[in-house]
């Protein structure tokens, strides 16, 4: 098995780096498991960095494209924490380079759509769950020397990669190969999906039992 990094460690390092950066940066989290990690880690700080989420509707693509607008309007740097599925939805890098903005993308890459994977597992929808796997992808290969990038496969590399990204005068991608066994801190949301169908999950699975442990609800 390839080496991976705990997504919690990735997001914690990113948020703390943003909070103590000499030039303040905006932190944006896409409406995926990335958002839940960012909320949790920001909540631990005494003073939060400028942090934006697509609360209310949770519109996919909002954080990625919104960070571009933030950079254009303020002239400052932004970090976007996103999943690999969300990145595909709206890749802004060529536009960002074209306008000379400083956009850093942190990709929590586990080659799957994590929340649908967990939700389908909870509903014992095996066939649906099988559709949530994504082709392995290297997001650092953006096709332009003006986009810096680094793949991160263990925690020891994190701080260096983040420091490189935040000192890079342009756009940068940190592609973090995250451990797929770490569940995002989504609280009761996975179990709450039952409300959409008006019925409990059809059968109990090990994943469901894991999700329903009392530290998750």
């Amino acid at each position: 098995m390839n080496a991976t990094v705990d997504p919690t460690a990735v997001v914690e390092a990113v948020v703390r780096a943003a909070a103590r950066a000499s030039q303040t940066v905006g932190v944006f989290a896409e409406s995926s498991s990335a958002m839940f990690y960012v909320i949790r880690e920001v909540s631990k700080l005494k003073h939060a960095p400028y942090c934006r989420l697509s609360s209310h509707y949770g519109s996919m693509g909002h954080a990625i494209a919104g960070a571009l607008g933030f950079c254009a309007a303020t002239g400052q740097r932004a970090i976007v924490v996103t999943g690999d599925g969300s990145f595909d939805l709206m890749n802004p890098m060529r536009v960002a380079v074209g306008h000379g903005v400083r956009l850093t993308m942190i990709v929590l890459n586990d080659s799957r759509l994590t929340l649908p994977y967990l939700g389908a597992g909870h509903r014992a929808a095996k066939n649906a769950q099988a559709t949530t796997h994504l082709v392995s992808w290297d997001f650092t290969r953006q096709g332009s020397p003006q986009v810096g990038g680094r793949r991160v496969v263990n925690e020891a590399e994190l701080d260096d990669a983040i420091a490189a990204a935040l000192s890079f005068e342009g756009c940068y991608v940190i592609d973090a190969e995250i451990d797929p066994d770490v569940e995002p801190p989504v609280g009761a949301r996975i179990a709450g999906a039952d409300a959409l169908f008006g019925t409990p999950s059809p059968q109990s699975s090990p994943m469901q039992e894991e999700l329903l442990r009392d530290d998750h609800i």
Partner: protein, 382 residues
């Protein structure tokens, strides 16, 4: 600097409608500025009004005018929704109106993905939409938007207002309508659709928008007295729920919490804006917050600037302790209905107010009397 939309006399050059509308956006961005949420370093030119667009034949006149204007940053994007999402965050960060220039026909649909979010986030965004000119309407031309192919009105209910312009003579009234809409503390998302043949037509000077002053909604004395009474009531400590609308006022919130010896928690959009939070609703901390509110016998929760449902993230669990009074402060009265389930069985006082005006008014009330609270102060929560 305010760039007035009626400065035609400065150079005597006749303006087209497209040019006049871009000038109007800059004027409105200056006049309708709200407290910015971004407190970091600024752009070397200060906060910018941006024009986000995906260029096409139908929007060419607007793009040309925006790119030529010294106070507009023209930002081309690769997909329509990217421009609208970008405009949301540019508006939230700077507190200024931002512009989206749409394409015609199917291009107008591409924005809808983001328009719903723009309203929910409280952004100020004007979307300019080109329509097919009358003589071509119904010809089933490519990218047509007309009475025959009404793509420009799809999703109209997602906007705060949709204005379909028919004649240049409407512009003075439209300018004042936009002045009123973008002065709202909760922002506004407006679509203005214009037949392309009008865009290059001459447009006379517009009204002096700086002569129109619009006051922010603020609470009355009786409402503030009632809130002060609830906050100072004997028994458990009061609590504040901070939403995204408080982020622009974060420097004042610690003093607010301290003054009323309150506990506090937040929505995700306002996470950790004040140290010592009980947590963030909408994620795994929901149950912990509910438990702490019950333990502390919180009798009053003041919800400030939150459009997120109070029950968000809790499934069927109740957040509010039995008998708890909810005071909800927001410029948008629609947020009350969003919390109907969470506040079921509770007394609710809704105060339609700008958050800054509310904080000002509450600060002017007499200091909280030293009541005999039965609950000792919570370490690290105030």
């Amino acid at each position: 600097m305010t760039v007035l939309a009626n400065t035609v006399a400065e150079d005597g050059r006749e303006r087209t409608l497209a040019e006049r509308q871009i000038e109007l956006v800059v004027t409105l961005a200056d006049l309708c500025t709200r407290p910015p949420r971004w407190r970091g370093e600024r752009h070397q030119l200060g906060d910018m009004a941006c024009a986000f667009f995906l260029i096409s034949a139908a929007n060419l006149a607007w793009v040309e005018a925006a790119a030529a204007h010294p106070h507009v940053r023209a930002v081309s994007v690769s997909i329509e929704a990217m421009g609208s999402f970008a405009a949301i965050e540019a508006s939230i960060a700077t507190g200024r109106l931002q512009l989206v220039i749409s394409g015609s026909g199917p291009g107008t649909l591409g924005h809808l993905w983001a328009i719903a979010a723009a309203r929910a986030q409280g952004a100020s965004v004007l979307v300019l939409v080109p329509r097919t000119p009358p003589e071509l309407a119904g010809s089933n031309d490519i990218q047509e938007a007309s009475y025959d192919q009404p793509l420009h009105v799809v999703g109209a209910h997602l906007y705060d207002k949709v204005i379909a312009m028919e004649d240049v003579a409407q512009m003075p009234r439209i300018a004042l309508t936009l002045r009123q809409l973008f002065a709202r503390p909760q922002g506004a998302v407006v679509q203005l659709s214009v037949p392309t043949n009008l865009l290059v037509a001459p447009c006379p000077a517009l009204p002096r928008l700086d002569a129109v002053r619009i006051e922010l909604p603020s609470p009355g004395a009786a409402a503030i007295a009632r809130v002060a009474e609830l906050l100072a009531a004997r028994g458990g400590r009061p609590a504040f729920l901070f939403g995204s609308g408080t982020v622009a006022f974060r420097d004042r919130l610690s003093a607010l919490v301290e003054r009323w010896d309150a506990v506090h928690f937040s929505t995700p959009a306002a996470a950790a804006i004040v140290p010592g939070s009980l947590g963030v609703i909408g994620n795994a901390a929901f149950g912990d917050i509910a438990k702490r509110l019950r333990e502390l016998k919180v009798g009053c929760v003041v919800v400030l600037g939150s459009r997120l449902a109070i029950a968000s993230g809790g499934g069927d669990d109740a957040l509010l302790p039995t008998g708890c009074h909810v005071v909800h402060v927001d410029a948008d009265p629609n947020v009350v209905a969003g919390n109907a389930v969470a506040t079921w069985g509770h007394d609710v006082t809704f105060i339609p107010s700008d958050i800054g005006e509310f904080l000002d008014a509450l600060e002017r009330t007499a200091p909280k009397p030293q009541s005999d609270t039965s609950t000792p102060p919570e370490k690290g929560t105030s």
